[in-house]
Symmetry: C2
Subunit: 153 residues, 2 copies
Amino acid sequence: MPSRKKPRPTGEARRKQRDPRALSLVQTRRQHAREIAEDYAEAIAELIADRGEARVVDLAARLGVTHVTVHRTVARLQKAGFVSSRPYRAIDLTRRGRALATTSRSRHETVLQFLLSLGIPEHVANTDAEGIEHHVSPETLAAFASALKKSGL
Amino acid sequence: MPSRKKPRPTGEARRKQRDPRALSLVQTRRQHAREIAEDYAEAIAELIADRGEARVVDLAARLGVTHVTVHRTVARLQKAGFVSSRPYRAIDLTRRGRALATTSRSRHETVLQFLLSLGIPEHVANTDAEGIEHHVSPETLAAFASALKKSGL
DNA sequence: GTGTTAACGTAGCATAGGCTACATTTTGTT
DNA sequence: AACAAAATGTAGCCTATGCTACGTTAACAC
C-alpha cells in the first residue's frame, strides 16, 4: 500500500504561511491529537498501577467521557501504536505507550509543582496544569524544573 | 424558538463523572471553542490596528489556515456575537469581541514575558505562550504577573 | 447451567476545524 | 467600459471528538 499518511496541505494553506506568528499557531493546532494520546496513556498507566488493569469503563470515568468515546479513541491509539487491546479485554500500553505515559506523567508533575510553588491554590493548579502541560516544550519544562529547585531550597 | 443552545450530556457522560481528575479534563476540553475565538479576536484587533481593517485573506495568513476556514469560523463567531461582517467586506469586532481581544492580548503578553523572564529563548517562548495562554486561569495569571514584577526589579 | 447484569461494541448523529476545487463579486488597470 | 486579478463565498470531502440508543459478550449469582 502507498503509505496513507495524513497529507499535509499543498495549496493555499502552504503558500500563505508568511506571518511568523502563524507558525506557532499551526504548531499548536498540530499538537492537539497528541494531547489526547498523552491523556489516555497517562490514565491507562495509572489504572494499571492502581487496579492491575485498565478497563474501558474506568477509563471513561477517569477521563470524563462516555465509554463510546473511549472505545473509538482507543482504536485510533491502537492504530497509532500506543496501546494494544482485544475485544472485551482490558487495554494495555505498548512500549511506545508506556514511554509516552512516563514522560507525560513527569511533565504533568513538574508543571503542577511549579504552579503550586507560585502560590496557586491546589484545585486551580490542577486544572491549569491539565491544560498547560501539553504545550510546554522541553526548554520551558527545564526552566520550570530549575525554578522549582531554586524555590525549594 | 426553544433556544437551541448546545445541550450538555444527560446520560452516561453525566453519571460517570466520579473521578475528580475528570472534572479538570472536561473543563479543559470545554475551553477549546473559546481558544479559537480568542485567537481570532486577537488577530482581528491587530490587523485593524495595523492596517485599518481585517480582511479574510490577511486573517488567514496571520492564523496559518486557508481563507475558507476563516470564512466558516468567522460565521460561527458572528453567531456567537464576537464579530460582525457583511459579504465581501472587512470583518469587525463587536463590543464583546473587542473585550475578548483586549484581555487575550494582555494575558498573552504576561505569559510571554513570564516565560522570557525564566530565560526561555524567544522563539520557544512564543510558541509555548501561544499554547499555554488559553489555559491560564486568572489566579495563575496573577501569580505570573506578580513573579514577573519581582524578577523585574 | 441458566439468567441477569455489567461491560463492551456498533450504528448513527452533531459540531468543529482542516482542506481542495470551483463560482462569484470587487477592485484596479487600461 | 471591459477585462484581469484578487478577494470572497460555496460545495463537498475528511478527520477528530463528543453524544444517545441499542445490540452483543462476558461475568457472576444462584
